[in-house]
């Protein structure tokens, strides 16, 4: 084997800017967010005001929760396209009952079952049948879509129990409940990913699947667990989103699958696996929301929001280019 102190081809042309670029790629994300916030403040003084920040947090929470799940899956070298469908299904179930608080337990039970089922199907297909993650989660996404439409006959109706409305859109002293939930989940899962033995295994499996097996790691179990986490979080996010949105249609959460991937990529989670962090994913989610809001604030047409999102994705990924 030739010596390994030489950098890969990609690093070749970096010269003097090399160290700067690697510094930027590691912590740039955490500079971008404050910069964007500052920009918002410049655009409009009320942007940094308590009520607007609080609104931003409300929007960041559901995306953030899904992004955390997506980061687990991406680190293990996968992809979860079914999260939006899981969210929507959870939201639809939430309105499928009588709409009273007494149903909360039943709703949670059904939604948990769905989340677990989807995670198991995805995990099984990917880990045991070696189906490509893109394909497997695409299939479950369509599957859920079909069932959801059949269940609601295309026209969902009903109300969300008041508890979900509170958790989804209520605030305590200006801090939205759903953001608090996000923080709790994020902290918990940060510990899991970055401090626990399981989390270490996730990184090893994602970065080096062959090595992982030879170290005695049950790679299939680790993979399935990650997909379970992703769909579980997606289900939870769906319930929370239903509380935020109030009325529910079949397309609740539309676009969250791609947005969560974008959030992760911006946050430094690599599609190739083995790299990433939860703070990064959250920062990515925050950036997406902040940009969207700033576009609105600037009175710019909504189309620009979409365009900007596209540009940010590509630029962020270019910064992390490996």
């Amino acid at each position: 084997m030739s010596d390994t102190t030489t950098r890969p081809l990609a690093a070749q042309g970096q010269g003097r800017l090399g160290p700067l670029r690697s510094l930027l790629s590691r912590s740039g994300i955490f500079l971008l967010l404050p910069a964007l916030l500052l920009l918002g403040g410049v655009i409009s003084p009320s942007f940094l005001g308590a009520s607007n920040i609080s609104n931003l947090l409300l929007q960041i929470a559901p995306l953030g929760i899904v992004a955390i799940g997506q980061s687990f899956v991406m680190i293990v070298r996968g992809l979860d396209l079914s999260v939006a469908s899981t969210m929507a299904t959870a939201a639809v179930i939430a309105t499928g009952f009588s709409g009273a608080n007494g149903d909360v337990l039943a709703i949670v039970a059904v939604v948990s079952a769905i989340g677990i089922a989807v995670g198991l199907i995805n995990g099984f297909l990917i880990a045991k049948r070696h189906v490509s993650p893109f394909l497997a989660t695409l299939a479950t996404m369509i599957l859920l879509q079909g069932f959801r439409f059949a269940y609601t006959q295309g026209a969902p109706s009903g109300n969300v129990p008041p508890l979900f409305r509170t958790l989804g859109s209520g605030k305590f002293d200006g801090i939205p409940y759903n953001f608090a939930i996000l923080l709790i989940l994020a902290t918990l899962l940060w510990i899991v990913l970055h401090r626990s033995a399981f989390g270490r295994r996730v990184f090893i499996v994602g970065g080096n699947p062959v090595t992982a097996r030879l170290l005695g790691i049950r790679t299939d179990m680790v993979t399935i667990a990650c997909y379970l986490i992703s769909s579980g979080l997606a289900a939870a996010a769906g319930l929370i989103l239903s509380g935020y949105v109030g009325l529910v249609d079949n397309w609740v959460g539309q676009g969250y699958e791609l947005d969560s991937i974008v959030a992760c990529v911006i946050g430094g989670v690599s599609l190739k696996g083995g790299r990433g962090s939860i703070p990064g994913a959250l920062a990515g989610a925050a950036i997406i929301v902040v940009i969207a809001n700033e576009v609105l604030l600037l009175g710019l047409p909504i189309q620009l929001q979409i365009i900007l999102k596209g540009i940010v994705i590509v630029l962020a990924a270019a910064l992390y280019a490996r």
Binding site: Q303, K309, R322
Partner: protein
């Protein structure tokens, strides 16, 4: 199975072509048993015709997937080209040819731009095309927030016209597919597409013209999207800003069914075409069975899962 070695090897090498053909036959059998209208000439032609748009897009997608990449901007590009087509023509027959040509050129250019970004920024095509898709969607919405413009009646010939009794659009798709297949097999650039998909790093070290390969495949994908956009305008008479939304992910299914591996380096366009037919057949069958549209989606998903599980088994056996 006692078959001569050459036949057995052919089956092994083209396991998925074999597989998708088997599936098509299976669906036909089921359909034939269900109702005798299934095999009527009119229905077969219907199935053939319904596959056109998906087939066109999927052929382009096959090329990008063969290089180990993917094009997630197809949906938005289709929307954009369809809006531009009907919007710019706006009923004027004299504009048809120039606008169609311009739209095809635009599609190709967008694809080339995708390739350029992938190469210069060294970013995974999934991310680049995802971003580009968002940008294109925004641009489309700038141009039109709803159905826009119109086309002269003759334009719809593209979709509804007949050549030798068969739908024009679908037949163009077939001819195009065959041309691409021959290109892949008989032109050096075509062979290099497989090499790049098989091992990108090795391709770089071997000095293969990666840039040329990527520009070609993504340019082609863009061209196919534009063609699909033209076809959709011919079919519906007008372009819409969200018309392409479902095609992004839908264009991948026929590619996989046809045996092209998502990781690249293996597969081809003939399989993709068959895959598109299979999907068209299944939808047709489900319509006959009066299955609601919702369950059609479920069926599609199940087919994907089934097909891929079967292919995995075959690959392990080979």
């Amino acid at each position: 199975m006692i078959a001569p070695a050459a036949v057995r090897r052919w089956i092994q090498n083209n396991a998925s072509l074999f597989g998708v053909t088997v599936l098509i036959v299976a669906v036909c059998v089921v359909g034939g048993l269900m109702t005798d209208r299934f095999f009527s000439f009119g229905n077969i032609v219907n199935v053939y015709e319904q596959s056109t748009d998906l087939a066109l897009v999927s052929i382009g997608q096959t090329l990008t997937i063969l290089t180990g990449g993917i094009d997630l901007s197809v949906g938005s590009l289709i929307s954009l080209t369809s809006c531009l087509t009907s919007g710019l023509i706006n009923g004027d027959p004299g504009r048809v040819i120039p606008v169609a040509a311009a739209v095809l050129a635009l599609g190709t250019l967008v694809g080339v731009l995708n390739a350029g970004l992938v190469i210069s920024l060294r970013v995974h095509p999934l991310i680049v095309t995802l971003g580009m898709g968002a940008i294109l969607q925004g641009v489309t919405l700038f141009y039109a927030m709803g159905p826009v413009g119109k086309v002269p009646r003759d334009f719809t010939f593209l979709a509804y016209g007949r050549i030798a009794g068969l739908p024009l659009g679908a037949t163009i798709a077939v001819v195009f597919c065959v041309l691409v297949a021959m290109f892949l097999r008989y032109l050096p650039l075509g062979r290099q597409i497989y090499a790049v998909g098989d091992d990108d790093n090795a391709a770089r070290l071997a000095g293969l013209p990666r840039t040329r390969v990527l520009i070609f495949v993504y340019g082609c994908s863009g061209f196919c999207c534009a063609a699909a956009g033209l076809y959709l305008v011919a079919r519906f008479g007008v372009g819409q800003p969200y018309t392409g939304v479902n095609y992004t992910l839908a264009s991948i299914t026929p590619v996989i069914l046809g045996g092209t591996a998502l990781s690249g380096g293996r597969g081809g366009v003939i399989g993709t075409l068959l895959g598109a037919y299979l999907i068209s057949l299944v939808n047709n069958l489900l319509n006959f069975m009066d299955v609601s549209k919702h369950y059609q989606l479920v069926a599609q998903a199940l087919i994907i899962i089934l097909a891929v599980s079967v292919y995995v088994e075959r690959r392990r056996m080979a």
